[in-house]
Amino acid sequence: MKNTTLFLIGILSLFISCKEKSKKVKNNESQGTSLSIDYANGFSIKQYTNHTIITVTEAFPGAQKEFKYALIPRDSSGNNTDIELSKTLEETLKSQGVDAILKTPLNTVVVTSTTHIPSLEMLGVAKTLKGFPNLDYISSPLSRKRIANKEIIDLGQNESLNTELTIELRPEVIISFGVEGENKSLNSVERAGIPVLYNGDWVEKDPLGKAEWIKFFGALYGKEREADSIFNHIKTNYNLLKEQIANIENKPTVLSGGMFKDIWYLPKGDSWQAKVLEDAGGNYLWSETEGAGSIALSIESVLEKGQQADFWIAPGQYTSYAKLASDNPTYAQFDAFKNKKVYTFAKYKGETGGLLYYELAPNRPDLVLRDLAKILHPEIITEDFTFFDTLDE
């Protein structure tokens, strides 16, 4: 009898406390504060008293759907009432239709793009990375060491992630850069209850906008402040150098890209590569073209416009003049080739052949800008190259 009464009181108090808490949660909704996102267009972060919401507005080009991810800080004290509170909060969030609810800081993640890895390393949370599709693409020495120690497992290929291994690994989250619904294995992993977050850093057109996605990772690890200060450092470096270069009158003309079969691919005028080139004081000959991807041109049209360009930057995977000339004699017709003014990012490779540029450049536009400034205006930069170098003979 006594037990039953106690039990009833317990139930009752639980009910009351639930009610109170749900009220609290509601009140908090209006008080959310937005974190400042200055350059990136694809996401926003809003902090509430008990949780944070990341909204990814452009997960892939032309995305119509917004993705909302709710982050609830883990309770380190293990207090019962807080568990109740977080349950109520989760229910409220679910009713609001968030795409995923995560407990932060994350302990185990799978990322799918090498561009996500520098963010994890800069935030000091590289040890949470447990799986990656095709480990050979990873170049950073820190993560390569973890791979050598078998701390990161290979999950096959990004376009068809190994479903069984991923489910067996059970990461708290998979961070993807794909297009929703087109990756069958991701759909199936989601059905298994592993949330998939879309990271749209690759869609950003502004060089600093790409780098600002470190704040996305900052929120996932409860390291908003660290992310903010890392980004501010990159931003300040970038903008200082950009202002310094803005005073230089001489703007050498720049050609970019290379041929695959007989089509020359080069970055369009709105792409981040084109923007960094302009910021580095270059006159990119195709800066007028609209759009952010790459443009496919015939060799004739590139020769016509770019034959007298002062510099030729990033000729694909080429690392030597000899290989360029032997693959296609037309390459030797360019002034930049004759004057040995061709620069490539293909020489800095990781242990297993991944290019450092592809992994780190989107996160460190300040270093890309410095490299390009060193190429175009060698007098103002004393530091060594990070990504670029001259071609071998």
Binding site: Q64, S160, E164, N187, S188
Partner: protein, 341 residues
């Protein structure tokens, strides 16, 4: 061959099929002990909850898809070989897979190449809808042609031409697309049996069942088709109607399988030949069930190999089916020195 020896053959086929199903469920990238595989299937305690999930929600739908895809493609291969009286015909001669490719190419590559917005179709079913729409349009065209053209061989040529036409359009689209989009398209064209949701498997199974019922309804006319168009007419087979029924059955089977699993070559062409080597009859009432079982067996073997047990890489099913099957067909033909058709 008398009826009792048929039943022996069928018994052997059934046993092999059961072994293949079990092997397919037991082998994969994650090593799961056979006792846990069986425990998951019968619903008793499993050592790890992730294993139970892998068996019941990943491997089991994949195995069912493999059975449906193998049987369905083999049946439509048999139907086409009989209809066209041509040993080289397969499920895709009517341009069904090229139609699906075109749909998927427009969906994935169209954004860049043509500036099409595929946002309407975004989400988990987008790709499947695009593939189905593509093969359905080709099917409508083929039926339209079939009702006008009296010569069955002309229909075969028209199907091949439609295939060439659509693959040319796909090439043009691919030429102007971004590397990532091209990669997505290429991965679709590799085919894959896994990662279908239960609702996907359900829809696929429904299409398969309808296709199969139509095939069974055509059994008698199929036998007469083997004797030639003119002879089939004299036998009183309602020629145009039977032909249309067979075309619809094939399209439904091959089209739905392509939409869900991507194009899977070879199985449809090879299985009827393999079965004819084992069962020497032209009676479709015997051939059809044998082809259904044979297709399922071959597909399950191929899928088990494609999963390359205990490694992180899975191989494209579309390539494996030909790599495993082609030598078998060549070996059989060389040994028997003649094609039974």
């Amino acid at each position: 061959m008398n009826n009792s020896s048929y039943s022996l053959t069928f018994l052997i086929l059934a046993l092999v099929l059961i072994v293949c199903i079990l092997a397919n469920l037991s082998l994969g990238s994650v090593a799961i002990p056979i006792k846990d595989v069986i425990a998951s299937l019968v619903g008793s305690e499993v050592s790890k909850s992730s294993w139970e999930y892998i068996i019941l929600d990943y491997r089991l739908p994949k195995t069912i898809t493999a059975i449906i895809a193998g049987s369905g493609l083999a049946v439509s291969g048999l139907l086409m070989q009989t209809l066209f009286r041509n040993p080289l015909a397969g499920p895709f001669v009517l341009g069904i897979s090229s139609g699906a490719s075109l749909g998927v190419a427009l969906y994935i590559l169209g954004g860049t190449a043509l500036g099409l917005s595929t946002a309407l179709l975004s989400g988990k079913w987008g790709l499947i809808i695009a593939a189905s729409a593509g093969s359905f349009l080709v099917l409508l065209m083929v039926i339209g042609v079939a009702t006008r053209v009296k010569d069955t061989m002309a229909l075969l040529i028209i199907g091949l031409m439609v295939g060439s036409l659509t693959s040319a359009v796909v090439s043009v689209l691919a030429y102007f697309s971004k590397a990532e989009e091209l990669q997505r398209f290429v991965f679709w064209s590799f085919g894959s049996l896994g990662d279908l949701s239960w609702s996907g498997v359900g829809i696929l199974a429904l299409c398969f069942a309808v296709g199969l019922i139509l095939s069974i309804a055509s059994l008698k006319s199929l036998d007469s088709f083997l004797l030639g168009d003119a002879y089939a007419r004299t036998l009183g087979t309602r020629f145009s109607r039977s032909r249309l029924l067979i075309i619809i059955a094939t399209s439904l089977l091959a089209g739905s399988i392509t939409a869900f699993a991507g194009p899977i070559a070879f199985i449809g062409l090879a299985v009827p030949h393999l079965i004819r080597q084992v069962i020497k009859t032209t009676r479709h009432i015997i051939l059809l069930p044998a082809v259904i079982m044979g297709g399922a067996i071959l597909m399950l073997i191929c899928d088990t190999i494609a999963q390359v047990p205990f490694s992180e890489f899975t191989l494209p099913i579309n390539a494996i089916s030909a790599m495993v099957g082609a030598p078998v067909v060549i070996w059989l033909l060389v040994r028997k020195k003649k094609l039974l058709f």
